[in-house]
């Protein structure tokens, strides 16, 4: 329940004014029952009817007189409703899921997949999520994970598909899951799932978009046909293959792999990411966008900041109309719909046409002079201040960081 106090100025004024005809009634507010002038006990029926907010988040009215409503302070229920906890003590079987964890969090694709896993697990089975590397996710419980296997040792960091495959094979040996579910995505799941399939000798169903009555449908070929087949053990599912879990909470009880996982000598050596010119990445695909609007006064500085940060440039329509940026860089309803993980909006007020274009962005950071603008309401982090000064400071920070980093590496 929120602590917002709703004041009733008129009632307060009446309470102060002893000459007001309703003064007496105001005095008795909050008591529920009081002795009237003729000795009869008076009850306030409104007080009981005001009710209280019960455990399920619903308003409850108790007329037994035990519960005293809080009528003096009307408050609004805004709290989190606790969803029922689904416990699987002794799983009859496991449904194993290896989510992508792009950026260390469950993606919407992962959540859909966990929803599908939950459907397949029913009440007897447990959904086992196998998560590689360090993660920043705190919502495994709400996503439908009954058992959580964290493999965050050093050998699982970075691009190590062969080592991860060994771990999945160890999971196969230890838990013998009834089904394996992986996202059929380019962010790792599609590759790892196919490696697992080839290694286990299982024929997977790929690009699955529907599972129904023991049959699954997946897109085949160039997407003009569907392949409908009995549900195999290994599924590589497309996004929106099922509804994500939303009605229950789950334990996400940690489990470990006893006996550990064999280590292999990697045959594929990862030499690290390659610097790609951010300006050449199509804006719709860019991971990190620095976007400028009418509040950017110094565009040379803006371009320098984008270069220092390694961000792809974007712009609001006003910035484009004023010829500060090319039309192809416009973000929004009539521009490009972007999917960046981090969207840094500098001097953009957040008109609805602009906000539509960044609906799919994960983290939005706003720099603006006006603390009341709509962009601030959308943003996860907002800094109120002058764009030029903040961009300048940001450039200095990042340059210092880069130089420090290269000195450490040397």
């Amino acid at each position: 329940m929120s602590d917002i106090v709703r004041r009733d100025p008129r009632a307060e004024w009446i309470a102060r004014n002893r000459l007001h005809p309703l003064h007496a009634a105001q005095q008795s507010r909050g008591q529920g029952r009081w002795p009237g002038p003729d000795g009869i006990v008076r009850k306030n029926p409104h007080l009981a009817a005001a009710g209280f907010i019960g455990a399920a988040g619903l308003k409850r009215i108790d007329r037994s007189g035990v519960q005293q409503g809080s009528a003096g302070r009307r408050s609004v229920d805004r709290g989190e409703v606790q969803l029922p906890l689904h416990i699987v003590e002794q799983p009859a079987f496991y449904i194993a899921v290896a989510p992508d964890m792009v950026g260390g969090r469950l993606s919407s694709h992962d959540r859909d997949l966990l929803g599908l896993a939950r459907q397949l697990a029913g009440s007897a089975g447990a959904v086992l999520a196998v998560v590689f590397g360090e993660h920043k996710e705190s919502g495994f419980e709400g996503a439908g994970v009954d058992r959580l296997l964290l493999l965050d040792a050093a050998e699982y960091q970075g691009y190590v598909p062969e080592q991860r495959l060994l771990a999945l094979r160890a999971v196969e040996a230890r838990f013998a899951p009834r089904h394996w579910l992986l996202p059929d995505s380019r962010s790792g799941g599609g590759e790892l799932g196919r490696r697992l399939a080839a290694s286990l000798g299982e024929r997977p169903a790929t690009r699955v978009w529907q599972v129904k009555d023991g049959q699954c449908s997946g897109r085949a070929g160039a997407g003009r046909e569907d392949l409908v087949r009995p549900l195999p053990r290994l599924l590589l599912a497309a996004a929106e293959c099922a509804e994500p879990v939303g009605e229950t909470r789950h334990e996400a009880r940690p489990v470990v792999l006893e006996g550990g996982v064999a280590r292999n000598l990697p045959r594929i050596e990862n030499l690290g990411p390659v610097a790609v010119d951010p300006a050449r990445i199509p804006m719709a695909e860019a991971e990190f966008i620095l976007s400028g609007g009418n509040g950017v006064s110094d565009w040379a500085l803006f371009h320098r900041a984008a270069e220092a940060l390694g961000a792809t440039e974007g712009a609001s329509r006003v910035a484009v109309d004023n010829d500060h940026m090319p039309r192809s860089r416009q973000v929004g309803a009539t521009g490009t719909w972007v999917t960046a993980r981090v969207y840094l909006a500098v001097g953009i007020s957040g008109a609805i046409q602009h906000l539509q274009g960044i609906g799919a962005c994960d983290k939005v950071v706003a720099v603006n002079l006006d603390a009341g603008c709509d962009m601030i309401k959308r943003a996860d982090l907002s800094v109120i201040g002058d764009s030029a000064a903040i961009l300048q400071a940001l450039i200095e920070k990042v340059t210092a960081y880069r130089q420090g980093g290269s000195r450490d590496a040397a």
Binding site: G57, G103, K136, Y159, R186, G190, E191, R195, A197, A198, T206, S217, R219, G221, A222, G223, R224, E225, D226, L227, V228, R229, P230, E240, E243, R267, I268, E269, L271, G272, P273, V274, A275, V276, R280, I281, P282, E285, A286, E287, F288, L309, A311, V342, G359, A371, K377, R378, A379, D380, L381, V383, I384, G385, D386, I390, A393, L394, K397, Y401
Partner: protein, 258 residues
């Protein structure tokens, strides 16, 4: 160009996504293009299927003299034939597409082939930077236009996707002149076709925005609320350095500073 390198590209029959007309497959043609850049006319190209398929001439038109076809019906499993052919050859690098445009198109063939041959597999090959001392340095395409540099020892299998260089045009003359060289192989039937059926693709149901609200007030709020209203952190009255510091910290946490 690496004249001493033995490279083989696997090609399948493509289909136009809208009309369904058979053609060279988009990704496989990119694999052939990459092979031609690396090995020139020494590139070998292999298909398992029908040697009279005219769509295969689309690959010949890229400047190949011949294309080896392991003769088998469309219902047969391509893997045993291809693996058998490779086992007896001196091929060091096999290039494939990532997903066929006709048939199942599961994208499993390169994985199964690598597993069967015991070779490493690289997916999403975008560019071969260099090959020396039996080691190849490659660029792998990642989502969001990113690239990763890998080093792999020969021999290996690599699948090419749409991030690799666009295939050259197919010219009519070479396409006519090139030879489709049929080879006899043992035919192994694909068990999948017994239990699965191919149907015209059904449009996927659009996901509705489900509002899980128990009361009318909550529904009203959900219908009128602006996206993610007011949950963010607002830093007001800080100097520019402190503000930049906070933004910088978030960028670091999200790992977008490279």
């Amino acid at each position: 160009m690496q004249p001493e390198l033995n490279i083989l590209a696997l090609v399948s029959i493509g289909a136009h996504p809208a009309s369904g007309r058979l053609r060279r497959a988009e990704q496989d043609a990119r694999a052939v293009e990459l092979g031609l850049l690396l090995a020139g006319p020494r590139l070998r190209v292999l298909h398992a299927g029908d040697p009279h398929q005219e769509a295969l001439r689309g690959y010949l038109g890229m400047g190949l003299d011949e294309l080896v076809v392991l003769e088998q019906p469309a219902t047969a499993d391509a893997l045993p034939a291809v693996a058998g052919y490779l086992a007896g050859s001196d091929v060091q690098l096999v290039l494939t597409g990532s997903q066929a445009e006709t048939g199942e198109g599961s994208g499993m063939l390169p994985f199964l082939l690598a597993e069967r041959l015991g070779w490493p597999l690289v997916v999403g090959l975008a560019e071969v930077e260099s090959i020396d001392d039996g080691c190849a340095q490659l660029l792998q395409a990642l989502p969001r236009g990113q690239r990763r540099r890998l080093r792999v020892r020969l021999p290996f299998v690599a699948s090419v996707d749409s991030a690799a260089a666009v295939a050259r045009q197919s010219a009519f003359g070479p396409a006519r002149r090139g030879r489709l060289e049929p080879h006899e192989v043992e035919v192994v039937d694909d068990p999948l076709l017994g239990e699965a059926s191919l149907q015209p693709a059904r449009p996927r149901p659009k996901r509705l925005k489900v509002i899980k609200a128990k009361t009318a007030a909550e529904r009203m709020k959900a219908a009128t609320a602006k996206a993610g209203g007011g949950s963010g952190q607002v830093l007001e009255g800080l100097c520019a350095e402190r503000g930049a510091e906070a933004i910088f910290k978030l960028l670091l946490e999200e790992g977008v500073l490279r």
